[in-house]
Amino acid sequence: MARTSQPLRPRGSLRGSPTLRLRVGFVLIAMVLSVFGARLVQLQGIDPGSYAAMAAAEGMVNVVLPAERGNILDRNGEPLADSIDGLMVVADPYMTVDQAPEIAKFLAQRLNVDYFTTLQRLRARTANGDYSRFQYIARRVPSTLASDVVTAAAKRGFEGIATRRDPVRDYPAADVAANLIGFLGTDEPLAGLERTFNKQLAGRDGSARYEVGAGNVIPLGQNTVTDAVNGTDLHTTIDRDLQWYTQRVMRQTVEDAQADSGVAVIMDSKTGELLALADYPTFDANAPLESPKKDLGSRAMQDVYEPGSVEKVLTLSALIDAGKVTDRTKLRVPGSLSRQDRVIHDWWAHGLIHLTLAGVVAQSSNIGTVLATDKFKPGQLRSYLSKFGLGQKTNVGVRGETSGLLPDPSQWTHQTQDRVAFGQSVSVNAVQMTAAINTIANSGVRVSPSLIEGTATTADGDVVGTDTTTTRRVVSEDAAHQMMLMMERVIDPEVGVAPGAAVPGYRVAGKTGTAQRVGAQCGCYDGTFTVSFAGFAPADDPRFTIYVVVQNPRNGGGGGSVAGPAFAKMMSYALRRYAVPPTGTRPSRLPIVW
C-alpha cells in the first residue's frame, strides 16, 4: 500500500489558510464598495441637479388653468359670442398606423371630418422617416362629443386617440352683428370687437403644479395653484333681435335692387346708442373663411362714400341757424345753374320754378340748395359740418374706422362749397352721418354715438362706451325744429319724393339721397349711384334715427324707392318693438311752392 504511505491532505486545506480567505474576502468587498463609491460620485458629484429634477418630475404634474374668455352680449344680455369648454382630438400615428383605415372611417363618421385627410394624418411621418407622435384630428369639438368619441374608440380597441383642452368660441346667432363682433382664429382674435377688446375678453391663464399618484393628487404632496383670472364680458348696445331684423331687411333690399352692398344704422335719438349696425353682404362668424375677405369687415365704419342729398339736411339747418333763411324762404329755381367749372342740374327736368326752402327739401333740388348756400359767409359751412362731426372719427370702438373726408380749408373753394352743399365732394362713414342727422332729431344737440355699454378700453388704449358720451349744440332748437318740419314734407305722398318711407300712424321726418359714386377703378364718378335714406320718428318726439345706404343699385331705383321702404320697415319694427306710441299730432303742412 505504497500509494497510501503519504497521508492525503485534508480537503479543507484547499481553501487556504484563514488569513488568505480573509484577504480575498476584503479584496472582493473593497471592489464592490469601490463600485458603489464610483456610482456615488457619479450621482452626487458630477450632475446632482438633473437627477434631483428627474426625481421631482416623477409624479409631478404641471397644468395650465385656462381663463374663460368673456362673452360679448347685446343690450339685453343675449349672447352674441360665448365660450364653451371644448376639446381637440389628437392622434399618435405611431400607435394608430396599424389600424389607420378603420380609425379614419370611425372618426370621419363620428366627428364629421374628411376621411382621406384623417387617414393621412393617422399615418403621418416626421421629416426623418419615423412615425409622428402628434397629429390634430379635429379642433374645437364640444367636449361631450369629443369625450364620447374617444371613449367609443377605446371600446373598439383603437389606440392612440386622445383629447386635449381647446376652448370653443360660439356665435349662437351666426351672422347677426358678425361684422362688428369679428371672429377668432385658431389661437388669437383676428377681427372686430374680439380683437379690439381682446385684453378685456381674454383674461389671464392660471397654473397648477401638484404631485399625482395613480392619477390622483397626493394629499400632502407639493401643491401650488395660481388661479386663472376669467375674461370680462363685453356689453354692447346692440339689440340682437332688431339687429337680425335689420340685417334681413337689408339683405332683401340689396338683393331686390341688385345692388353691391348695403348698410343700415339704427340709433337711439336721445342717447346716441347704436341699436343695430347692419352690413350686407355679411358672413357667418362660425365659419368666417367661407366668405370672401372683403365681407369680413364693417362697411358701415370702414368704407367712405359721398352721402348725396341727405347732406342737404346739414347744410340747410346750418343756414337756418346762421339766420340766413327760414323754412318759408322763397327761391326762384332755374332749370340749370352754371357755375365756374360745371353746370348743376336737378334730378328732374324743370323750367324756372318757385320753391320755398321746404319745397327744396321735399323735392330735393340741388339748384335750390346751392342758391341758398350762397348766403353763407366764407368758411361758415365747413365749420358747421365739422361741428356735425364730419371728417372726424366717431370712436365707437370699431377697428379701422375711417374719419371720412371733409375738404381742407385750403382746398375749400366756392365750387367745392357748391358741391358739398348737396353732399358731393365730401365723404363720410355711415355712423358719422347717422350721428349728424340725429343732431336734428335731438333738437340741434349732437350726441356722440356709442356701441359699448359702460366703458371699455380698446387695443389702442382709447376708452370708449356710453359713459364717455359727449354732447354739443350744433344748431339752435328752433333751427332743428324748422328742419324737422321741412323733412316731414319729404315723406308726403303729394309733394315729397319718398312716400315709401312713411310709417302708418306716425309722423316721420326724413331725407333721401342719391349720390354719384366714385368707382374703385377710375377714381372718378363712374355712373353708378349710392342711394340712401335718413330719418327719424316720431318726428315731433324722436325715438330712433335710422340711416339706410345702398351702394350701386342696378334696378334704376333712387333713395326714395330703394332705401325709403327699407327705412319704413325698420322704423315700424323698432317703434313696435319698443312700444313707442304715436304722438297723435298733425304732420307739417309747410308750403313747398309760392
Binding site: 343675449e78 349672447p79 360665448d82 364653451i84 369648454d85 364640444p142 367636449s143 361631450t144 362629443l145 369625450s147 360660439d170 349662437p172 346667432a173 351666426a174 351672422d175 347677426v176 392619477g215 390622483n216 393628487v217 397626493i218 394629499p219 400632502l220 340682437r240 333681435d241 337680425w244 331684423y245 334681413r248 331687411v249 339683405r251 332683401q252 338683393e255 310709417v503 302708418p504 300712424g505 315700424s572 319694427y573 313696435r576 312700444a579 306710441p581 304715436p582 297723435g584
Partner: protein, 206 residues
C-alpha cells in the same frame, strides 16, 4: 433675643429629658419608591401605536378623499361640459333666425302697425292694420342667380288640339268611352314621354 426660649426651656420639667433626647431629628434613610414600570411602558406604547395608527388612518382617509375628489372633479367637469353643450344648443334654438324660420313655417308673418290704448284717458292712438301675407319677411337669402347655360329658360309649347278631339285626350277612342282605365293611363304615359322628347329636342335647338 433668645431669652424667651431660654425661659421656656427652663420651665420644661426635668423628667422629659429622655423623651426630648429621643425626639431629636435624625437623618432618615432615603426611602426609594419604585413606580411600577409596566403601566408607563404600556401607556407610551399605546400612545405611540395610537399615533402611528391614527396617522395611518388619517393618511388613508386623506387618500380616500383624494380619490373621491378626483372622481368628483371629473364628474363635475363632465357635467359642466354637458351643461355648456346643452346651453349652446338652447342658444342655437333661440337664435332669431331659427325662431323666425320656424314661425314662418307655421304660417306666421310679422305684425302690422298696432293701435295703442292709453289707459289714463281711454284714448286709442295709432293706425292699426291687419297682418297680411305681404308682411312676410324673406328669412333666407335668395338663391344665387345661375348663369343661363346652367339654368335655361323654360320652354312653353302651346299645342292646338286637333279638330274634333277634346282637350286632354289624344286618342279618339277615349272620346267614345271604350278605353279601359289602364289603357288611358298608358296613353297618358306615352303622351308625357313624347312631350319630354319634344322638350329635349327644343333644348338642343336652343
Amino acid at each position: 433675643m433668645s431669652s424667651p426660649a431660654v425661659q421656656i426651656r427652663s420651665r420644661v420639667p426635668r423628667f422629659a429629658d429622655a423623651a426630648i433626647a429621643r425626639a431629636r431629628l435624625t437623618v432618615v434613610p432615603r426611602r426609594r419608591v419604585r413606580a411600577a414600570r409596566v403601566p408607563f411602558v404600556t401607556l407610551v406604547s399605546l400612545l405611540l401605536l395610537g399615533g402611528v395608527v391614527g396617522l395611518l388612518l388619517f393618511n388613508t382617509s386623506m387618500q380616500q378623499a383624494s380619490f373621491a375628489s378626483t372622481a368628483l372633479e371629473e364628474q363635475a367637469a363632465n357635467l359642466t361640459a354637458r351643461k355648456q353643450t346643452l346651453q349652446m344648443e338652447v342658444e342655437k334654438l333661440r337664435d332669431p333666425q331659427h325662431v323666425a324660420a320656424d314661425a314662418q313655417a307655421l304660417g306666421m308673418v310679422l305684425a302690422g302697425p298696432p293701435a295703442y290704448l292709453n289707459l289714463s284717458d281711454g284714448s286709442v292712438t295709432g293706425d292699426p292694420m291687419p297682418a297680411t301675407p305681404d308682411n312676410r319677411l324673406r328669412v333666407y337669402a335668395a338663391p344665387p342667380v345661375k348663369p343661363p347655360s346652367i339654368d335655361p329658360r323654360p320652354i312653353h309649347k302651346i299645342v292646338q288640339p286637333q279638330e274634333g278631339i277634346l282637350p286632354g285626350t289624344t286618342d279618339p277612342s277615349a272620346d267614345t268611352g271604350a278605353g279601359s282605365p289602364a289603357n288611358t293611363r298608358s296613353t297618358g304615359t306615352n303622351d308625357s314621354h313624347k312631350n319630354q322628347q319634344s322638350h329635349r329636342q327644343h333644348q338642343n335647338q336652343h
